[in-house]
């Protein structure tokens, strides 16, 4: 899964360059983010703005990353469109993740 990553202050920002986050790419995603977390990036904004399809494997991979950052870290979601958001709601993952409308808001909330 092609990802774009950057760092702003202590916040690590991930953005997907692929529009589908499905079973085909979920395993790779999980492995790649795990590497970034092991490198010490434990305050993560996942900007899902470019994603227009996510299935339960994709959600599962994000949950796995959340567990991996652990209680000292954070992983929040930004820029989910209506359809992707509906998948978080359907699986009640909207009660697990903090979800921000914009990447900016997410970064600000984390920095404070």
């Amino acid at each position: 899964m092609r990802l774009e990553t950057k760092k702003e202050g202590g916040v690590f920002i991930i953005r997907s360059l692929e529009s589908r986050m499905d079973a085909k790419v979920a395993v790779d995603f999980r492995a790649e983010i795990a590497r970034h977390i092991d490198d010490g990036n434990k305050h993560i904004v996942f900007n899902v703005g470019g994603i227009n399809f996510i299935d339960s494997s994709g959600l599962g991979a994000i949950v796995s990353c959340l567990k991996h950052v652990g209680r000292e870290g954070e992983l929040v979601i930004a820029e989910a469109d209506e359809t992707v958001l509906s998948m978080f709601k359907l699986t009640r993952m909207d009660r697990v993740f903090r979800i921000y409308e914009t990447e900016r808001e997410a970064i600000q909330a984390m920095s404070t």
């Binding site: 085909k24 494997s57 959340l66 567990k67 998948m87 359907l90």
Partner: protein
């Protein structure tokens, strides 16, 4: 009016699942359903196909996966067919978890739950070596 019918066939390979998903998305976007509903229907079919590949065929490629779409006047049905290992006696899929209990959040087991939530009717039948997950979504047709 008789219903419209098409069958999609792919090999049991996660690479090709999106081709069915995209096709179904476009077909559903022609019927009176919201964007979110269209998306969720696509998701259900993708979940069912993923299950077929991952569980019925244990992730081995080279096996047939078929999705039969039937678009009627007020409902759309999908039959996801495989000739692999059949699903154990259907339990009601549930998704109970404590959102604050980080360690025990589910990373899987959400597929059938999503299907149950979105679809109006779900049946699973096995016979003659074939397994069929039949999903029906009813919509209101305003002509």
């Amino acid at each position: 009016m008789e219903s419209k019918k098409i069958t999609f066939s792919i090999d049991s390979n996660l690479r090709d699942v999106a081709l069915i998903g995209l096709s179904i998305n476009k077909i559903c976007s022609q019927i009176p359903l919201s964007d979110v509903e269209v998306y969720q229907i696509e998701a259900c079919v993708v979940e069912a196909i993923n299950n077929t590949i991952e569980h019925a065929y244990k992730n081995s490629s080279g096996n047939p996966v078929e999705v039969k779409l039937n678009l009627g006047i007020d409902r759309i049905t999908f039959e996801v067919c495989d000739i692999g290992i059949r699903m154990m006696a259907s339990h009601t899929p549930s998704l109970d978890f404590d959102p604050d209990d980080l360690e025990n959040l589910p990373e899987g087991g959400m597929g059938l739950f999503i299907i149950q939530q979105v679809m109006d009717q779900v049946d699973y039948t096995s016979g003659n070596g074939q397994n069929i997950l039949k999903m029906t979504k009813i919509f209101t047709n305003k002509p």
